[in-house]
Amino acid sequence: MPTVVIADLNKINHHLLAEDEKIIESLDEITDSSYIYILDDSHFLDVGKIETDCLHVPFNKWNDTCRNTKVYFDLEQYSFFETFKNSLNTDPAVLRFYRKEEIAYSDKLILEDLLVFSGIFGKPVKLNISHTSSHLRPQHVIITVRFTNKVIAHFEYTFLTNKTNVDVEWSSKGKIIEFNSEKESAFETSSQSFKKNLYTIPSLISTSKIMEKELLELISLYSLDLKERISL
């Protein structure tokens, strides 16, 4: 059975595509089971027609009707993230995570970040949400979480801003890790025309997850908070 990846093609690093990773425009092009086929996420509605057990979809497209699919998260596709995750220790810590996004408010984006960090720091013990008035642009959201693994965290999002950026700081006893996608980048440019933080297919496949019971429970837990407490 072939491997099929559903992705926003603008986010794929085309320079690093291997010979067996092939971008296709329709399902008809799936012919060889040894290939990894990459299909633009505008074809997501066709997922049900794909005959494969190796289907990878982005979390923002996933819904609970997607069976036999693996899901990948945007944050885990950043090249820094694996190193960041491996650099953490189990000490009590403060996490500060901040995204700036050009898109309008997306509860799915927040949700997937919370899921990724819950995978590292455990379930939320306490959670508080604060956000700006719906008539203001940009929109800003602050989420405070105390995780089971002795980590307290701020997750902040500015939507409808003029650039995208991820900023993360982790402070523990004798160890501080900082990353800012704008500053820690090979590019220094006055424009946003260079594509940065692009997905690679091996990363995407290796971080994809089956939506098991524990993850589904976390989704329900966080979704409820986001739906009840945010009206943007």
């Binding site: 009590p92 403060v94 500060r96 203001l136 940009p138 500015t158 801003t161 006893k173 004798g174 501080i176």
Partner: protein
């Protein structure tokens, strides 16, 4: 202008003393310090007179005092100085509880002396510039603030709650609350926080993250901690990001630096190149005393910042948002 310093328990006293030495027409006429050995050393260092009791110190001819004691003694020293008709610059936080702060403000008003709280960040050049462009409307309407004030654990009495009144959350929250209030000219109405001891086995807290809401709907986050360690390139940070409807601007005070790399344990050191806030703070206080005018940072400002820090502790305790 004759100035005295009451206690060198807070390390900022040294910076303020150096500032006094550099101001023309200003004389450091005495130091009150209960630690006799330290007091003698300081008197020699600053070529002044040491006093071991507040009574004898406050009898000398001087216009104003700078209070740099442990937080818990601010009230006693400020009230004694006010009753002795001395103008006062008091280290932050103004006090360790609201009642003490209110009494300090009242006694200073009754004695018609200045009570200025030491919020030197108001005199940091990039912060002043940010205030200017904000007031000119260049950022549009403020939507949110993101602030930090993180440093190294000062140890000593700072980590003893009976002397400090609180740990890093108290120590490193009040500066940025004051700046946000100054920028918006609005008060904070809601505070939510998570506070903990993450960086050492301390009696006091060393980390606090706060989420706040102002009366006009602006929201804010703040990260207060003693998370920085000896080998970190700088002592810590003071930063504010103002997210506006027209533009977003971030000011990181400690980003004004040279990067100095050395082939030793602390390989990278940030050599600060910004302006001396403490000097500007002291200079401003002296000018207020000389001209007999009320400072822009009053006891009320100290009280308002303290209220938010205390609300953060309460929020952490009850696990809910606290209304002010």
């Amino acid at each position: 202008m004759k100035i005295g310093i009451m206690s060198f328990a807070h390390q900022h006293a040294y910076s303020y003393a150096n500032s006094l030495m550099n101001l023309e027409g200003v004389e450091l006429v005495g130091i009150f310090e209960e630690d006799l050995v330290l007091g003698k050393e300081l008197a020699e260092k600053y070529n002044t007179v040491h006093f071991s009791t507040q009574d004898t110190f406050l009898e000398i001819n001087m216009d104003a005092v700078i209070v740099c004691s442990e937080n818990i003694y601010h009230k006693e020293m400020v009230i004694n100085a006010a009753n002795a008709k001395k103008h006062i610059l008091c280290e932050k936080p103004i006090a360790t509880n609201k009642e003490d702060a209110l009494e300090m403000i009242r006694v200073c008003e009754e004695n018609e002396v200045i009570l200025q709280i030491a919020f030197p960040v108001r005199f940091c050049s990039p912060i002043v510039e940010l205030k200017r462009i904000l007031d000119q409307g260049m950022l549009g309407e403020v939507v949110a603030f993101r602030t930090t004030n993180r440093g190294t654990n000062p140890g000593g009495w700072f980590v003893q709650n009976e002397l400090s009144g609180g740990g890093a959350t108290l120590d490193h929250t009040v500066h940025m609350i004051d700046i946000m209030r100054w920028f918006l000219e609005k008060e904070i109405t809601d505070v939510y926080s998570e506070i903990d001891s993450c960086f050492g086995e301390l009696e006091s807290d060393d980390a606090g993250i706060l989420t706040m809401k102002f009366e006009n709907g602006v929201i804010a986050s703040h990260d207060a901690s003693w998370s920085r360690f000896e080998n970190y390139p700088t002592w810590g940070d003071v930063s504010i990001e103002v997210i506006g409807t027209k533009e977003t601007v971030k000011v990181s005070v400690t980003n004004e630096h040279l990067k100095v790399y050395m082939n030793k344990n602390k390989a990278l050191n940030y050599a600060f190149t910004g302006n001396d806030m403490d000097y500007e703070l002291v200079k401003y206080f002296i000018s207020c005393v000389q001209e007999g005018r009320e400072p822009s940072i009053t006891g009320k400002d100290g009280l308002k910042a303290l209220e938010v820090a205390l609300a953060a502790y309460e929020s952490n305790l009850i696990g809910e948002k606290v209304k002010l």
